[in-house]
Symmetry: C4
Subunit: 270 residues, 4 copies
Amino acid sequence: MLNQTTKEKINRIVFGTDTKAGRRFDIVLLWLILFSVLAVVAESMPELGMQFPDTFFYIDWVFTIVFSIEYLVRIYAAEKRKKYVFSYWGVIDFLSIIPAYISIFVAGYHYLLVIRVLRLLRIFRILKLIRFTREGQVLLTALRLSMYKISVFIAFIFTFIVLVGTLMYVIEAGNPGFSTIPASIYWGIVTVTTVGFGDIVPYTRLGQMVASAMMLAGYAIIAVPTGIVTAELTKKAYEKNTKQCEKCDQEVKADDCYCSNCGHKIESKV
Amino acid sequence: MLNQTTKEKINRIVFGTDTKAGRRFDIVLLWLILFSVLAVVAESMPELGMQFPDTFFYIDWVFTIVFSIEYLVRIYAAEKRKKYVFSYWGVIDFLSIIPAYISIFVAGYHYLLVIRVLRLLRIFRILKLIRFTREGQVLLTALRLSMYKISVFIAFIFTFIVLVGTLMYVIEAGNPGFSTIPASIYWGIVTVTTVGFGDIVPYTRLGQMVASAMMLAGYAIIAVPTGIVTAELTKKAYEKNTKQCEKCDQEVKADDCYCSNCGHKIESKV
Amino acid sequence: MLNQTTKEKINRIVFGTDTKAGRRFDIVLLWLILFSVLAVVAESMPELGMQFPDTFFYIDWVFTIVFSIEYLVRIYAAEKRKKYVFSYWGVIDFLSIIPAYISIFVAGYHYLLVIRVLRLLRIFRILKLIRFTREGQVLLTALRLSMYKISVFIAFIFTFIVLVGTLMYVIEAGNPGFSTIPASIYWGIVTVTTVGFGDIVPYTRLGQMVASAMMLAGYAIIAVPTGIVTAELTKKAYEKNTKQCEKCDQEVKADDCYCSNCGHKIESKV
Amino acid sequence: MLNQTTKEKINRIVFGTDTKAGRRFDIVLLWLILFSVLAVVAESMPELGMQFPDTFFYIDWVFTIVFSIEYLVRIYAAEKRKKYVFSYWGVIDFLSIIPAYISIFVAGYHYLLVIRVLRLLRIFRILKLIRFTREGQVLLTALRLSMYKISVFIAFIFTFIVLVGTLMYVIEAGNPGFSTIPASIYWGIVTVTTVGFGDIVPYTRLGQMVASAMMLAGYAIIAVPTGIVTAELTKKAYEKNTKQCEKCDQEVKADDCYCSNCGHKIESKV
């Protein structure tokens, strides 16, 4: 019985935010994640990573061990262990420690690139941060809800870019930046998204005219995804001011006292 | 009678999506289109197109023959053949096969550019993809509805750019990028749409001041088309919550039970 | 009496769009304006303007005379002549012909630049086009209504850019693109509006960090003017569905039959 | 008693805008601020600052003394002196004069950079301008209200950029612009915000593909913060059409005459 209680206590600390210990655990973890990401970034700078390779090696292992302990504790304390391990957060927690362990088995200097990529995979620890911001999760939900519409929009834009890119490939033949259709499509993406690096630019007059039409079109159609998301969010804000009648499931305004459909007195607040 | 039934069966498969065979037909076609577009793109890359010209030649004819069969089957199975042939999709289907056939009649190496352009016209097959996404068609409708307003907006922006472009042509006289008014207008479009390639930039102080004012104005007025589309979409979402009174055609809220105009009891749901 | 009728007839043709002759007059004028603007643009191109200077000289005078006749006819036919002359359109019509006449009095080759600028002022004829698009006038109104808010917003952005520009001037001392505060402010405007020419870029690490913060801030705050205009337009669309009670000036919904304030029966439609 | 009245009179002039003297005081101050900022900007230009160093030295001290007098008068006339001194405006007023006084104590040419920075701090006088625009304060409030959501959004974008930046650091190894992770992140910010300077661009095909995906994603997600602010502002505009019942604090529509909750007759107008 005692063991059960200990597990429950730990569960409230590592998963919950309603106890003082739980909040402290979160804050300590937050800083650990930030520092571990900062270590990965700092290691990539020659004046740090090349000067003190050993220091970074040890720092990294300290973080790996700490996050491994966190992972094991979470598995131990999870209500449903299997559910946690295969949940979004379980996978992220696992991925943030596994590269370090794999790098042990990849022996010596033969697979330097593999090790390098493995070490950089630690940067994904930054995803652990999202757990701490409720707003972040709301934003993720908002993005996921508009995701399909946005995907269709991107597919549309991409179709448009493929067509104009091929056109530019024909018009700008001889211009090194437009030597293949994929290169033209790359230029099209850089242009329509209004990034405009300027490493590839049209030289012919006709090319500049087509590019101008493309830019003006792109400038105008950026309004469409914006409008879609806004309308979605406005609708959502509007809908939050309604509740359902308990008797006839009619949707009524949140501050109505009687159902406008059946006259049932509504007790509940939203 | 049997023939008629066969035609109806084929019609359901090639035009409909409500049968298993119809959905399978769509998926096969979807992949065929994607691969045929990919083949056009890949052919433009020297390391592929120059190495295996014959392969691409044969691949292309396979796709052309498959799409020709699809076109003929669609004509055969269409309810109203004439209507299909001159519909948006009929024209797209036709345009996706005709370049290959024309290229036979354009003999030899005399008209290389014509052949090259003809071959690239095959990229328009990508437009066949829109048929498969209902959301794509919704988006097209949304764009078409805002098209007129957006056109007027683009015309406005263009007028603004012509004026500022001419001004910059006077101010930046001697700067190669502003040697003619069309060149200045091209720069103006690149700048106002915030693409900013950087191949043409103002050198004089006055030119930089005018460019600054232009950029700030452009930055602020991008809000206008966005606002127009959003207001349009929000209005649409709002209107979906209304229905018409069956007696007096008065527009009432979707959850109203009695018409606010004539007192008629409304039975229908939206 | 006859004279009066003739004036009224001409008035309907040159100012109105409700008669066949009036619409024809508009269409002819529209093409004349387009061609006259095109002539100005074409003249700036060396391969045309340098080759056929006389042709352009004569073309320009033809347009000037035609627009002069139009101007005189409009003055003659205007209901209130003084009002027309000092109206927006009267001023535009005057400005589109006066540069040509001034250029006669500016003698010889001594004032080449003045003549050049005068000739380019003819480009302002493009503003005559706005008369033909009702939507254009709606857009102008929408812009004018949001103008004050947008101006305040631009002033805000500008204040922000002045501060960051001065900061960059200190940080990037020695970088030629940041040699003076005005140069730094120019760079700031190019960057915050996301144009990003790339002719001036920060070299120091601290400069790149400040620039990064500036870009992210600019990326996020572009949402504000967009939101302002959209909210304005949405409100407008919402308000169009209301009308005022004739008795107590209460604002009621457009489809209400009785004032919700005083019970007065409302006859008028919106 | 007389002294008290004098203080009140001065208070109305320096803090209020409801008297003629108060408005005049504001306008004089507005121009003084603009000219003092202009002086700082002009001094940074070699053809002015290097030519007439003494002139700028004296001009600056004149402004410093004028603003010092303004500061002392404000302290004297403030209703609650302590509150003013530590208010936003009190701090700005103090910061706009203190650099000049500190520069006296920093002796000679030993601390040239310090003096230079101190002198440039005077640019912060521009913040005094915000006091004069009520709309500016509204905008500040609007920004502050959306600040938290926008911060979360920027944090999200930043996380996304850190991940893609690290990926590009691996892919574009050898490309000088991607030599460290911070450099890659800088490139990522320049790209996702669509600034696109073009001083750092991907060279490898894989790098260009990842960059393309990043740009398209960034292009689509700019819709999210725009939508958030718009929904916020639309909600606010909607809420302005409501008032509270005086009896039960129920929120009712601005044009309702009876509370929909308790039937209380509502007298007040919004």
